[in-house]
Amino acid sequence: MLETSTRQDSIVESLLARGVTRRRFLEFCAATTAILALPVTYETRIAEALETADKPTLVWLEFQDCAGNSESFLRARDPGVADIVLDILSVDYHETIMAAAGHQAEAAREEAIARGGHIVVVEGSVPTAANGVYCTIGGKTAQQILAETVKGAAAVINTGTCSAYGGIPAAAPNPTGAVGVPDLVSGVPVVNLPGCPMNVDNLTATIVHFLTFGALPATDEVGRPLFAYGERIHDHCERRAHFDAGQFALEWGDEGHRKGWCLYKMGCKGPSTFHNCPSQRWNGGTSWPIGAGHGCVGCSEPFFWDTMTPIYGRLPAPPGFGVTTSLERIGAGIVGLTALGFGAHGVAKAIQRKRVGDAVQTPVEIDRAALRKGRDEEGGER
């Protein structure tokens, strides 16, 4: 299946050919229905759609990336499902896993583009500085390859934070002028599956959604499907009860950490991050970062490398004060300095009063004076 291929079998045919039972196939449909947060009645609809749909051609582009999403892709839930995932798709071009190389590989991509209606998966950000020379493949810049490949495509799926938002290559000071795919592509539906890397379950579900409904799933303001990024990590975290109770790990390996208490004070970004990690988990549902005892780093949020850091601090460092200064220090400074400033002002005012005398005639003095005058003139009225 990883040789370059121009076959267009139906999905179910190819599954049967690989010995995937119908029972296994229906289990997959049920699991995907659950990931998509659809009512169970959709199971049959999804099964029908996958039975009749042709294998969509998939072109997987890698730009400024670490191949983490490819890794994630190849580690789909369990071997049975991995087969299904790879079989649903006709992966015509994927640098890392395809057998073909060089001109032969590029020809496969060009063929897929020529047929049209393909799904483009992008991994990695696209450099735009210096005419895009920071990432070239076969003599073409990433920008050129992207523009060619999305022409006539049915959809673009960005896997990982880099292709969605620029990710780590785009972190300040962004020397390569890296941007995410949505900044460069228009006229083709685009969906973002950020994360470092993306979770393959969400990729599968997105593709199944596309095959079943003929459209990409509904997204939030930053282009992420709501089924996977609609809920906050903090609100589904298994350590949440410890958060509400006020039980926090204060140091790596301390009592709280060993007991699985909340990692809030260790800089966990779960309260600021939307992703289905707590329910979907990773590596076939084995575990996930917080489950493994490390705080969330917010990797599925745009520009997380710049905005969610320091990784082990809860709030960003106050700008201009160096990374070790906490906001509480600044706050104490604000309060302390105002107290000091006004205290000094008070002393100076007291000195001024001593030297220059009272500022005004106070009402008490005025009253006394007026009463005296009133008595003199009007015979003590009032």
């Binding site: 006020g246 509480e328 002002h345 001024q352 500022a359």
Partner: protein, 239 residues
């Protein structure tokens, strides 16, 4: 008008005997109406609760050990409750700025008229030791008024960022209203701003109490007691 201050004060007292009492050369005026005082103390007490709970939410300093107490749960519940009291008080004050007496009106906070500009200048000179005389007036002096405008803006930002943070867990309409802000400022920075404004608020409180004590010492108008009773005793020409 060639009336003397005393005649003016007596005329004002005749017109509205509940709010102004004229004595020889002096007037005792109800500057702060009941809603103003109630709103003032509601804001103060909710800010105290919001700060104590907010500081705990930001820096959970109480260690509960193995015996869970739902401390954070309570802190967050109290914070949200106090937040809505606070919001109600701010909204009420804004409404009152358009319906209250002349010392509580919106124009007291924006020194645009010539008189208010001069008053602000007098206040500036007083605070910078260029003059010995505090700015004259019955309600807020113009400089203090503009400080409260800054504080109002701070509070509105605090309310907006607070609601935006709440929308992260509530979703729904709140999220649709405030969600755009995270595209401008990422979530951790919204927390940062919300946290910073707490400290700035306490900086303001120090300034506010200091200035109240300073002015009351200089002028002896009963400024400090006025925020409890509403009455100030002023030279008649202040009215």
């Amino acid at each position: 008008m060639t009336t003397t201050p005393r005649e003016r004060a007596e005329a004002a007292a005749r017109e509205d005997p509940l709010q102004v009492v004229a004595t020889a050369g002096c007037v005792t005026v109800r500057v702060w109406q009941l809603p103003v005082r109630v709103i003032h103390w509601t804001i103060f007490s909710s800010v105290v609760v919001l700060s104590l709970t907010g500081f705990y939410i930001g820096t959970p300093y109480l260690s509960v050990g193995s015996d869970p107490r739902f401390v954070m749960g309570w802190a967050r519940a109290a914070h949200n409750l106090a937040a809505f009291v606070f919001i109600a008080a701010i909204v009420a004050r804004i409404i009152w700025a358009f319906s209250g007496n002349k010392w509580s009106r919106w124009d007291q906070f924006i020194p645009i008229s010539k008189a208010r500009r001069e008053n602000a200048w007098a206040g500036f000179k007083y605070y910078t030791f260029l003059s010995r005389t505090p700015p004259a007036g019955a309600g807020h002096n113009a400089l203090a008024g503009s400080t409260y405008l800054v504080v109002l803006v701070m509070f509105l930002v605090q309310i907006f960022t607070g609601l935006a943070l709440l929308s992260l867990e509530s979703g729904g309409a709140l999220a649709s209203i405030s969600g755009w802000v995270f595209a401008v400022l990422p979530i951790p920075w919204i927390r940062f701003v919300h946290h910073l404004i707490m400290w700035m608020t306490w900086g303001f409180v120090i300034h506010h109490v200091y200035s109240a004590v300073l002015m009351d010492t200089e002028e002896k108008t009963g400024l400090i007691s006025s925020i409890f009773t509403g009455w100030k005793r002023l030279p008649a020409d202040r009215l």
